[in-house]
Amino acid sequence: MSQGFTVHTGRACPLDQANVDTDQIIPKQFLTGVTRAGYGKHLFHDWRYLDLHEKEPNPEFVMNKPEHQGASILLSRENFGCGSSREHAPWALADYGFDVVIATSFADIFYGNCINNQLVPVALSSAQMDTLFALVKATPSLDIVVDLPAQTVSAGNEVFHFDILAHHKNNLIKGLDAIGQTLELNQAIEGYESQQPAWL
C-alpha cells in the first residue's frame, strides 16, 4: 500500500440487495490465482454474465447498465461481504474500479480486508441508504463525495456523517504499511515470546 485516500468524488452503482456474500462478489472458480491482480473482470460473475465464458453481459444486472458505467462507488445494503475470508473480494472490487463501498452494514472479515486494501468501507444507517439509493435512482450521474478526513458522504443536498475507527482511518489516509508499523514493535514481541509457557 502506498497511495493514501482522502477525498473521492465519483458516481455510484446501486446494488440494492442485502447479504451480498463473497461467493457472489468473486466465485470460487476464480480463486486459483497466485497474484493479487486481474480479479475485476470476474467481479459478480454469476450475476453479471449470462454465460460461463463472460462473453454475454446480463443487461438486467445493475453494473451492466449504461448509466452506471465508470461508477467508482458501490452502494449496497445490510451485511455486505458476508461469508468467506477471501481477500479476492476486495481485490476484485478495487480492480474493477471501485474506490468506496457504502452499505448499511458489513461482515467483519470483509471490512478488515477492505481497510488493508485501500478500499474504503462506509457504513450508513438504513434510512440514509434509502436516501442515497433514491438520489442515484433519480440522477444516475450524480456525483457523490466521500470525504474520509471529515468522515462525510455528500450527495445532492445531503451530507451524512459516518463512523470509522481512528486507526483504520489513519491507515487509509496515509496508506501505511501495517506490517512495517508492527515490525517496529519487535522488542515488545520478543519480550512477549520470552515469557510464554514452556509447552507452547
Binding site: A18, D23, V34, T35, D108, T182, L185, E193, P197, W199
Partner: protein, 465 residues
C-alpha cells in the same frame, strides 16, 4: 472483576496496546493454498522473513481432487497454486501436509487431529471457518491474505475487541438431533448477521454433553451468524481428546492442564448479549433459502415472504424462494433431491461419517441421486475404513472419495449443475456456492444420508431404533 473466557484468552495475548486496539500474539497459524500465495509474494517483495515457521503449519485442501492424488488432477491453475504452497513452505521452513500425506486433510480437521490446537491459544488461518478451533477454548478466527502476511512477518495481529455473546443450550438433545441441528437452529434464531461484531461462547448442558467433534461443528458455523469467533470452555472432554496427540504437550502436560482449567467464564462475568435455547425444542434442521439463517425444522412447511415482518428479510425470502425453486407452504419431505454431499470442515469428521453410515446401512442410494462421501482428512479416512464405514457407504451406492474441501465450495471438479438440488453437510447455501444455479440445502450428516436413500428430505427421527 469477573471475566469471560474470551476476556481471559484475549488478555493473555496482548503484546502491546495501541490506542483502543491491542496487538495480539498469535500462537498458531494454519495456512492453505488459496489464501497464502499472495502473502508469501508480499513478504518476498519487501525482503521480509517468516518470523515463526515453527508456529505455522500448512496443508493442501481447497483446490485438490477427491478422485486422484495427482497434484495437477484439477488443471494447471490449481496445480500452480498447490506447487506455490509447497515451494513457499519449503523455502520458509514450514511443515506442510501435502496431498497424499497420511495426515493431510481439511485444515480445520487435520489441525485439531494433530493436537495443534490447544485451550487458551490464539489461532488464525486465511479461512473464515477457523472459528472451528474455538471448540478447544482457543480464540480462533479467519483472516484475509494481508493479515496472513502480517502474521507470517510478525506473529501478531492488531485487533479491536469484539462484544461478547453467551448462547446457552439448555437440557439434553432429543434422539436424532445433532450438533449441526443445534448450530443451524441458533443461526435461524439470531439470524445470518445476528452475531456480527461478537465473539460467542456456547454453554449449557447440551453443549457440555457434546464430544469435541460435535463442538467443532458448532463453533465452525459461528461465522455463518456473522460472529468473529465461537468458543467452548475446555473441560475433561477436551483434555481427554488432546492427550497423546502429536503436538500436544507431553513433558509439560500437567502444567498445561492446570492452566487450561482456569479457562472458563467466571460466575457473574458480563456478556453483552445472552441467548437461551431449549435443546428439546430443536428438530432436524434443513435450510430452505440462500443464507444459513433461512432454516426450518424438516417438519415445517416452506415459509412465505409474508411470514417476515422485517422488509429486508421479506425481500431476501422472495429472492431465495425464486433461486431455490421453492413455493411457500411446500413440504420439504416432498422435495426430490438430486445430489448428496457428506463431508467438509463442518461435518467431515469420524463421528459424522458414523452417523451417516448408521442411516446408509438402512437402505440404498435412491435411483436418481448421486451421493458422495468425502472424509475430512487422511486420518478420518483411515479410521472409517478400519471401522468398515467405507464398505457400508459403497454397498449402499455412495461414492467414497479422497479427503479435501470438495463440494463444499467446488474449487475442484466436485461441482453441481444449474437446477441440481443437494442435501449437503457443508456450511454455506449461498447462491452458486456448489455450482452456478445449483441449490444447496444444509443438513446434518444423518439427514443427508436419509436424503440419499429416500431421494427426498426425510425426517431422520424415523430412522432411529
Amino acid at each position: 472483576m469477573a471475566k469471560t473466557l474470551y476476556d481471559k484468552v484475549w488478555e493473555a495475548h496482548i503484546v502491546d496496546q495501541i490506542g483502543d486496539d491491542s496487538l495480539l500474539y498469535i500462537d498458531r497459524h494454519l495456512i492453505h493454498e488459496v489464501t497464502s500465495p499472495q502473502a508469501f509474494a508480499g513478504l518476498k517483495d519487501k525482503h521480509r522473513k517468516v518470523r515463526r515457521p515453527d508456529r505455522t503449519f500448512g496443508t493442501m485442501d481447497h483446490s485438490i481432487s477427491t478422485r486422484s492424488l495427482a497434484i495437477d488432477a484439477c488443471g494447471p491453475a490449481n496445480a500452480l497454486q498447490l506447487q506455490t504452497l509447497a515451494t513457499n513452505c519449503e523455502e520458509n521452513g514450514i511443515t506442510l501436509y501435502p496431498v497424499g500425506h497420511q495426515k493431510q486433510g481439511i485444515v480445520h480437521v487435520m489441525g485439531p487431529e494433530l493436537g495443534l490446537i490447544q485451550p487458551g491459544m490464539t489461532v488464525v488461518c486465511g479461512d473464515s471457518h477457523t472459528a472451528t478451533h474455538g471448540a478447544f477454548g482457543a480464540l480462533a478466527f479467519g483472516i484475509g491474505t494481508s493479515q496472513v502476511e502480517h502474521v507470517l512477518a510478525t506473529q501478531t495481529l492488531k485487533q479491536s475487541k469484539a462484544k461478547s455473546m453467551l448462547i446457552n443450550v439448555n437440557g439434553s438433545l432429543p434422539v436424532g438431533i445433532t450438533a449441526k441441528d443445534i448450530i443451524l437452529a441458533i443461526i435461524g434464531k439470531i439470524g445470518h448477521a445476528g452475531a456480527t461484531g461478537y465473539v460467542i461462547e456456547y454453554a449449557g448442558e447440551a453443549i457440555r454433553a457434546l464430544s469435541m467433534e460435535e463442538r467443532m461443528t458448532i463453533c465452525n458455523m459461528s461465522i455463518e451468524a456473522g460472529a468473529k469467533a465461537g468458543m467452548v470452555a475446555p473441560d475433561e472432554t477436551t483434555f481427554a481428546y488432546l492427550k497423546g496427540r502429536e503436538y500436544t504437550p507431553s513433558e509439560h502436560w500437567n502444567d498445561a492442564v492446570a492452566y487450561w482449567k482456569t479457562l472458563y467464564s467466571d460466575d457473574g462475568a458480563n456478556f453483552d448479549t445472552v441467548v437461551e435455547l431449549e435443546a428439546a425444542d430443536i428438530a432436524p434442521q434443513v435450510t430452505w433459502g440462500t443464507n444459513p439463517g433461512q432454516v426450518i425444522g424438516v417438519d415445517v412447511p416452506v415459509p412465505s415472504p409474508d411470514d417476515f415482518s422485517d422488509t429486508v428479510e421479506k425481500e431476501s425470502a422472495v429472492k431465495a424462494l425464486a433461486y431455490m425453486g421453492l413455493k411457500s407452504g411446500e413440504k420439504l419431505s416432498d422435495l426430490p433431491v438430486s445430489h448428496v454431499f457428506i463431508g467438509s470442515c463442518t461435518n467431515g469428521r469420524i463421528e459424522d461419517l458414523r452417523a451417516a453410515a448408521f442411516i446408509a446401512k438402512q437402505g440404498k442410494v435412491s435411483g436418481d441421486v448421486t451421493a458422495i462421501v468425502v472424509p475430512g482428512s487422511g486420518q478420518v479416512k483411515r479410521q472409517a475404513e478400519e471401522e468398515g464405514l467405507d464398505k457400508i457407504f459403497t454397498d449402499a451406492g455412495f461414492e467414497w472419495r479422497l479427503p479435501g474441501c470438495s463440494m463444499c465450495l467446488g474449487m475442484n471438479d466436485d461441482i453441481l449443475q444449474a437446477g441440481d438440488r443437494c442435501a449437503s453437510t457443508s456450511n454455506r447455501n449461498f447462491e452458486g456456492r456448489q455450482g452456478r444455479g445449483a441449490r444447496t440445502h444444509l443438513v446434518s450428516p444423518a439427514m443427508a444420508a436419509a436424503a440419499a436413500i429416500t431421494g427426498r428430505f426425510a425426517d431422520v427421527r424415523e430412522f432411529q431404533e
